[in-house]
């Protein structure tokens, strides 16, 4: 296929990968679901994610039921019995609408996951490029710093930072973030995962810099920055894309863990992690409060992982060809991996 750009070829391969596409669509559906939160909240459920209804009653098929009974048990899923209110029931003793919270919580979880990954990839690219290309003391400094963060058991570091920052917030020069700002967990997760991406990036840069096109650019008098941006970066692009996708999955899982432990997303923000934590309290009597957000989180992360695999296959054709060769007849249909 002479004349086609590698991106177009990658796109064609991705298109053939039915499974990856399927999960990509699942991811898109989930995104649509959470983006529809305000529509559902205002149009159907008529309540926000944090509004409490402890003492209220709801009309279900003609009979009036307590949202939270005297012993603190929340009403279970009503589906459309009350016109969509409390579709998945109430979330606990505060009587908040579980479905509304699920949607808003999803927005937070996705937002934190995606933005934290952007930060990770951005930082990792900059650091990896500098360390890999410039070498010398820059490399040593950056590599040691990455080593230090890497040496810290990830969860410990994230919990420690989360705890420390949740209480007093973060002050960087003139910028002050309050302890319950959504940016605190985003920054923590973004920074904590950086070494895991920066090191491979550095490794690839080390390999790439020996290649002819880099030598050629340098011979033509290109400065460091030009080389890094014009020559190296485009060649890193496919790796970065795949890392980004994987980071999203890992970041979402880390965020939910931190929120579950109480050191991630802080109230009044909700995320699927905080919902699982809340549901854990009532797991024996109202298991849906734990199961549903967890399943949704699992599906989202799964979709991202599968799609990331598809991306990797599409961008690295060797893997695909090899697979076809071993399976016997060439299968244009998608493979899961």
């Amino acid at each position: 296929m002479a004349g086609r750009s590698p991106w177009y070829l990658a796109y064609r391969r991705l298109r053939r990968n039915r499974v990856a596409l399927g999960f990509g669509v699942l991811f898109a559906l989930i995104v649509a679901f959470v983006l529809a939160a305000p529509l559902w909240a205002n149009g159907v459920a008529d309540t926000g994610p944090n509004a409490t209804h402890t003492l209220e009653r709801v009309e279900v098929d003609g009979e009036s039921r307590e949202v939270v009974n005297r012993e603190g048990k929340p009403v279970g899923p009503l589906w459309f019995g009350a016109g969509g209110k409390f579709f998945l029931g109430a979330d606990g003793r505060l009587g908040r609408d579980e479905m509304v919270r699920l949607m808003y919580g999803g927005r937070t979880s996705l937002f934190v996951g995606v933005v934290a990954s952007l930060i990770t990839v951005l930082l990792a690219t900059v650091l990896g490029l500098l360390a890999g290309y410039r070498r010398g003391w820059v490399d040593t400094l950056i590599s040691r710093a990455l080593d230090v963060v890497w040496a810290f058991p990830v969860t410990l570091l994230a919990i420690a930072l989360g705890l420390a920052l949740a209480t007093g917030g973060l002050q960087i020069g003139p910028l002050h973030l309050s302890g319950d700002s959504i940016w605190v967990p985003i920054l923590i997760i973004g920074v904590v995962y950086t070494p895991y991406v920066a090191r491979p990036v550095r490794g690839e840069v080390l390999a790439l810099r020996e290649r002819e096109f880099v030598e050629a650019a340098v011979a033509q008098g290109a400065g460091s920055i030009r080389v890094m941006v014009r020559e190296l970066l485009p060649n890193l692009a496919s790796t970065l894309i795949v890392f980004f996708a994987i980071s999203v999955a890992n970041s979402m899982l880390l965020e939910s863990l931190l929120s579950f432990l109480g050191v991630g997303v802080q109230p009044p923000n909700t995320s699927w992690g905080t919902m699982i934590a809340g549901g854990f309290e009532l797991i024996t009597s109202s298991p849906q409060l734990t199961v549903v957000p967890g399943v949704l989180l699992l599906l989202t992360v799964l979709a991202v992982n599968v799609f990331a695999d598809g991306l990797r296959d599409a961008l690295d054709p060797r893997a695909k060809l090899r697979l076809e060769a071993h399976a016997g007849a060439p299968e244009p249909e998608g493979h899961a991996v």
Binding site: G72, R93, Q266, T284, S285
Partner: protein, 537 residues
Amino acid sequence: MRKPQAALVLALLTIVAIGVSSCGGSGGKEGGTLHGTYASFPELDPTINFTAEGLTAMYNTYLPLYTYAHADGQAGTEVVPALAEDLPKISKDGKTYTLTLRNGLEYSDGTPVKASDFPASIERAFKLNSYGSSFYAAIVGAEKFAETKSGGIPGIEADDKSGEIVIHLTKPRGTFVNELALLYATVLPAGTPAKNLTDNPPPATGPYAITKVERGRAWSYERNPAWEKTNGELMPDLPSGHVDKIEIDVVRNKATSVNEVERGKSDWMQSILPADLYSKVKGKYEGTQFRVEYPLNTYFFWMNVSRPPFDDLKVREAVNYAVDSAALERIYSGALVATHQILPEGMPAYQAFDLYPHDMAKARTVLEEANPSDREVTVWTDNESPNDEAGAYYADALEKLGFDVTLKTINADVYFQTISNPETADLDTGWANWFPDYPHPNAYFQPNFAAENIGYTNLSHIDEPKLDAKIAKLGEEQLGPQQEDEYAEMDREVMEMAPWAPYGTNTVSTFVSSEIDLDKVIFNPTFGQDLTSFQFK
């Protein structure tokens, strides 16, 4: 071990095991081994421990000069002699306490209890910077000792020959005998090292001695030989206990503990029930294996009276009208008893009243009369359920009332330190609870409403000289009927100033297996379930 020996040991062990298990199981009323679970591991050093779990664990092991009566309800708030022969003779100026140590007392390791052990034990509290040491700071020379940790405390005279102990205070202190009955003043041998002895607890004077400790996991008790030999006879009013052995395991997962008690694998769970099993267990076992208990406490929302908008009395009244105990009852799964005053029922001097019955409409009217200009309010709460939900409910109620609310949820382990720290910004209002250190009204009013505790336990920053004077005056007097009336009046007066919006008293429960006689179990409002009252049916 060689085979024949091993077989012999095995046989012996089997016989012992059968013997022990049949003792516990087949209906003997006295004796047996009680198996209990705690959800957390308390420090088993009486001078250091400040948790309720530790009090329950050590109430019948470590005896101070005085103790609290082994009874339920208000009867359990009375101070009775333990290692001392009688209640102390107090001089007219209230500054000198004279008492005599009983003659012939021994520790579980056989050494005799000496009068000079008492001042040494108080010194140990100061050396360890124990939380309870502040109760004894009024003793002459104690403050100096707290700083220098040397030179002894001159204000305590102890004569080992006669057993007489004289305590001199710098000023009269009406709560002193109550404080002498706390575990912080446990009498331990004079040479006991000033470090946390949880791994190897000090010798006991009570009916049960702690024999084995696996830190964080388990500990067990056996009958104290000293009690059987002499202490029990010298202190006939204190119960000796029915079971022979007590084995406690730490099981952090409360649902597991419930399961174990239901199946009879465990005889008792010390901790509260998990929220989602509460109503189920209560419904199924109330009266037979389950009983609601009422420790002394108040749960409330504090308001910082030193800054707007809560510097306006009418605003605070409006908040009191707005808080709805019915909602909070649900948040506490039915385990909360509603109240709108400072002192809880069961506390001496308690007289019920309600100045602010819930009325949202009235709340709004009163707020409009006040019309505060600053409507931005930060509500603080901790992250432990259901307190975080109580905080969220409160934030919501304030929003409905017309405020612009920011809710801050702080990790439970640092919550109180954060909200009491004067450097924390935006301390407007928030959730809190108060468990008095001992059952005396002063243990409520002094820490929470005396101006000197602003920045520490006085969360509402209330500074009223007349109230301070009254608290100080009543604090110097011994608690009699007149003082009780004055405290009841103080309860009303403080509620009229409305620095708090109290909403309830949290209950706990006694949940035992079917083999334990529930009716015999005593729950002391300060010390919890009394281990000497557990008896197999």
